[in-house]
Symmetry: C2
Subunit: 130 residues, 2 copies
């Protein structure tokens, strides 16, 4: 079974998760130095957030050495799916395709990406025929 059901990371928590998903297990200092670039918060703020996230079960941590190592406890894919589902529900009245059209319309997707999507659509249609 997957990590959690009702995950709902906050804005700040998501920023931290993104760093950990990208970089893998990291110290507070490492995470903080990346966040600092785009955000302006003190070191202890990042620390506190990560501690709370650990309490909530959003992060794992390794305390075997003095400097703790944190890692995401929930997968990026699961989190994306959950947040997306929720957005479809609450913002797009349950219509995934409405969201898709909106997403495609407002972002220049590369030809390659569009092809990938079309192939995917074909697959889905085939499956539905069975």
């Amino acid at each position: 079974m997957s990590a959690g059901k009702h995950i709902k990371p906050t804005e700040s928590e998501l920023e931290i998760l993104r760093v950990l998903w990208e970089k893998g297990p990291s110290t507070v200092r490492e995470v903080h130095e990346i966040l600092e670039k785009s955000k302006d918060a003190g070191y202890t703020t990042t620390l506190k957030l990560m501690q709370i996230m650990h309490e909530k079960g959003l992060l794992q941590r390794d305390t075997s050495s003095k400097t703790h190592i944190y890692a995401a406890a929930i997968s990026q894919e699961n989190t994306q799916r959950q947040l997306l589902d929720k957005m479809i529900d609450t913002v797009f009245n349950g219509s995934a395709s409405q969201l898709v059209l909106q997403a495609l319309g407002n972002h220049k997707s590369s030809r390659e990406e569009l092809e990938k999507i079309k192939q995917y659509l074909d697959e889905i249609e085939k499956q539905q025929q069975q």
Copy 2:
């Protein structure tokens, strides 16, 4: 010019906006009676929320009669676009197509809807060729 740039309705505010988008201008009572079905909050809670939303510029209101009439001050489409853009940014690392694949994969879309999306993709590709 359009209503606002950095709109960021909260969870509760979004519920109210959805009602107003669907039903058009309404009284607090009308909105509340719909919210009551799925939520459990008092009347004055809804009132207060709508008052605050008016202060924030999310709602317009007509106070010409004793019972005020509220209406959404931001369009559904704009709001959807903004929230979607933000999600693409913060959750999908800027990749709209990644979001699209995720959305299509996890929701049973009707054949019709899928066709619509494919047609749309074709149009986009044609435009890109020019």
